[in-house]
Amino acid sequence: MATALPVTSAQPRRAGAAGILLLLAIAYGLVPLVGTSYLFEAILTPFLALALAGLGLNLLTGYAGLLSLGSAAFMAVGAYAAFNLSLRLPGLPLPATILLAGLIAASAGVIAGLPALRLRGFYLAVSTLAVQFFVAWALNRIGWLSNDSPSGIIDAPRLVIAGLSFDDARGRYLFSLTIVALLTVLAWRLVRSPTGRNLVAIRDHETAARIVGVKVARTKLLAFALSSFIVGIAGVLWAFAYLRTVEPAGFNLDRSFQILFIVIIGGLGTLRGAFLGAGFMVVLPLLLSRLGTALLGDGFDTGTLEMVQRIVLGTLIVAVLIREPAGLAALLDRAFRRLSPRS
C-alpha cells in the first residue's frame, strides 16, 4: 500500500550519527553497570528482541511497502530452527547456529513472499496470515521439531560463545544488544544502499520503478528474505535470550500484529522507528502499570489496573497519530527541528 511517509533520506543525518554513538556508549558502558536484573530480564531483553523484529518488518512494510502479518511465524521459524540446529548439530558454534536459523527463516520468507508479486495492501496482509497459521499448526503438529517433548514446549540451550557464557541477566542483555547492534548496522547500510532505494521506489511507484530498470519481482522477494532473516533472528533472541523456552503459542497472531504496530507507530521507513515503536508498545505499558501500582498501591485490583492501562495506551496511540500520522520518529524530528535554530 502506498504510504506517503518520508524516509530517512529526508531526515537529519549528522546529529543522528552522534546520537547513535551516544546511545551505544550508554547501552554498553553505563547500563550494564547500573542495570538491575529486572531491567535486563524483563524490559531490555524483550525490548531488544521486538525492536529487532520491528526493524526486520520495517524493511518489508516500511521501505518496500509490503504489508505482512506473518512476522511471528518467521520468528517462530527462526527460533525452532535454532533450537533444532543446536540440538542436532551439537558442535555448531552459537553464532553459526543463529546465522543459519536466520537463513532458514529467510528462505521461508521468500516462499511466503511469492504472493506479493501479485497482491497488494490488505489483501497481501491477510494472505500472509496463511503462513502465520500454517507455521503455528506445523510446529504444533510435527513433534520432531520440538524434539518430541510431550507438551511441545522446549527449553532453549544455554548461551555460550567460544566458552564464554552469557547465561546471566546482564550477559543475555549484552548478547542481545550486540546482535541487535550488528543487524541494525546491516539494515542501516542496506537502506542507504541502492538496493534500499529500490525498495522505496517500488513502494512509491511500481511502474516508474520498473521503467527505470528496477528488478521489481527480484527486489520484492529480496525484501521478504532480508526482512525474514532479521525477524527470524529476533525470534531466536526472544526464545533463547528472553523466555528461554520455546512454545508455538508465543508466536501467535497477536505477536504479528504487535510487531506491525510497533513499526507503524514508530514510523514506517525509519530505522529508529522500530526502536521507538518497541519502546512505545513494549516498555510503555510496563511503565504504565508500574505507575498505576505506585499510585494505587499493591493491593489494588490488578485486573482493573490492567484495563485502565489499556484505555490509556489506546488513547495515547490515537493522540500520537493525530499529532503526527507518520509516527514517533517524525514526531521527534519535528521537536528536534523546533529546538535546533533555523539557519
Binding site: 504510504t3 547500510r189 541502492p194 521506489a201 516508474a208 527505470v212
Partner: protein, 268 residues
C-alpha cells in the same frame, strides 16, 4: 529528415484498443537519432497510449516496433532501461518520499552493478560505483538547476518542480531515446522557456532522440524537428512545424481558433 536505419525508433502499423474503444490504430512513426519529434493531438487522441505502448506498459494488438535494432510486437517494460529508453509521465510518477537526489539516482537503477553484499559490506567496487553515480546525478541536478531542492522529499515540491525532477531522473541514464509526456503542463511561460532550453540542451549534449507530447503549440513549434498529429487514434499528419501549422486538417482537429492563446507566449 530521412527515416532509415539510423532511426532509433520505428513504429509500424501499431494498433491498440480497449474493449471497443480505439486508443490508436495503424500508427507509423519513426524517430531518428537526435531528432526531436513532437506528437500532438486533441485530448484522448491516443498520444499517451502510444508512448505507453512504446514503453511496454500497454500491449498493442497489432503492428510492430523497433527500438535501436531490437524488434518487438510487445516491448518488455523491464528491459526498457537497458534498451536506452527513458520517459516521463503525464501524471507525475516520482518516488514521492525519496529526496530529489535519490530520485535522480534511481534513474541509474539499471546500470547498478555492485551486488548486495558488496553494497552492504561497502566493498571498494560498490563505493566506487556509488561515488561515480552520485557525481552523474549531481551534474544532472546542477544542469536542471535543482541544486537548492537536492535534499527535499520530491513529493513536497510544487508541481512544476516535480516535473523537472522527473526529467532529471530520465536524463541521468543518458538515454538514446527519451519520451516526454507533457513535461511542461502547468508551467508559466517563463518556466516553459526554461524547460525548452533544457530539452534542447539535452539533445545537443547527449544526442538523445526525443519524443515530445505537449499541448503548448508554441513550445512544440519552437522545439520540434518533426511533428506527428493524432486525432481519434489515427495519424492525420506528419511533417515539419511549418507544414503542420499550415495543414487545414490539423487546424480543424486541433489548433482550432485562428488566434490560439499561446501565440503570445511564443513571442516571449
Amino acid at each position: 529528415m530521412v527515416a532509415g536505419d539510423e532511426d532509433i525508433l520505428a513504429v509500424e502499423g501499431l494498433s491498440l484498443s480497449f474493449g471497443g474503444a480505439v486508443a490508436f490504430a495503424e500508427i507509423d512513426l519513426s524517430v531518428a537519432a537526435g531528432e526531436i519529434h513532437a506528437i500532438i493531438g486533441p485530448n484522448g487522441a491516443g498520444k499517451s497510449s502510444l508512448i505507453n505502448a512504446i514503453t511496454g506498459l500497454y500491449a498493442p494488438q497489432a503492428g510492430r516496433l523497433r527500438i535501436g535494432d531490437a524488434r518487438f510486437a510487445r516491448v518488455p517494460a523491464r528491459r526498457l532501461a537497458e534498451l536506452g529508453v527513458a520517459r516521463t509521465f503525464q501524471n507525475l510518477a516520482l518516488f514521492k518520499s525519496l529526496s530529489v537526489v535519490e530520485n535522480v539516482l534511481s534513474g541509474l537503477a539499471n546500470v547498478q552493478r555492485a551486488g548486495l553484499t558488496a553494497q552492504l559490506l561497502g566493498l571498494s567496487a560498490a563505493r566506487r560505483e556509488a561515488t561515480e553515480h552520485r557525481a552523474r546525478a549531481e551534474s544532472v541536478i546542477d544542469f536542471l538547476q535543482l541544486g537548492m531542492f537536492r535534499g527535499r522529499a520530491a513529493g513536497s515540491l510544487p508541481y512544476g518542480l516535480q516535473k523537472r525532477v522527473e526529467l532529471a531522473r530520465a536524463l541521468v541514464a543518458n538515454p538514446r531515446l527519451l519520451l516526454l509526456d507533457e513535461p511542461m503542463a502547468g508551467m508559466s511561460a517563463a518556466e516553459k522557456a526554461e524547460m525548452s532550453g533544457f530539452v534542447l540542451a539535452a539533445r545537443e549534449m547527449l544526442g538523445t532522440a526525443i519524443v515530445l507530447i505537449e499541448h503548448d503549440i508554441g513550445v512544440v513549434m519552437r522545439l520540434s524537428d518533426r511533428i506527428t498529429v493524432l486525432d481519434h487514434g489515427r495519424r492525420i499528419a506528419t511533417g515539419t512545424p511549418h507544414e503542420i501549422q499550415a495543414n487545414p486538417a490539423v487546424i480543424a482537429a486541433y489548433l482550432g481558433a485562428e488566434d490560439d492563446p499561446e501565440n503570445e507566449a511564443k513571442a516571449a
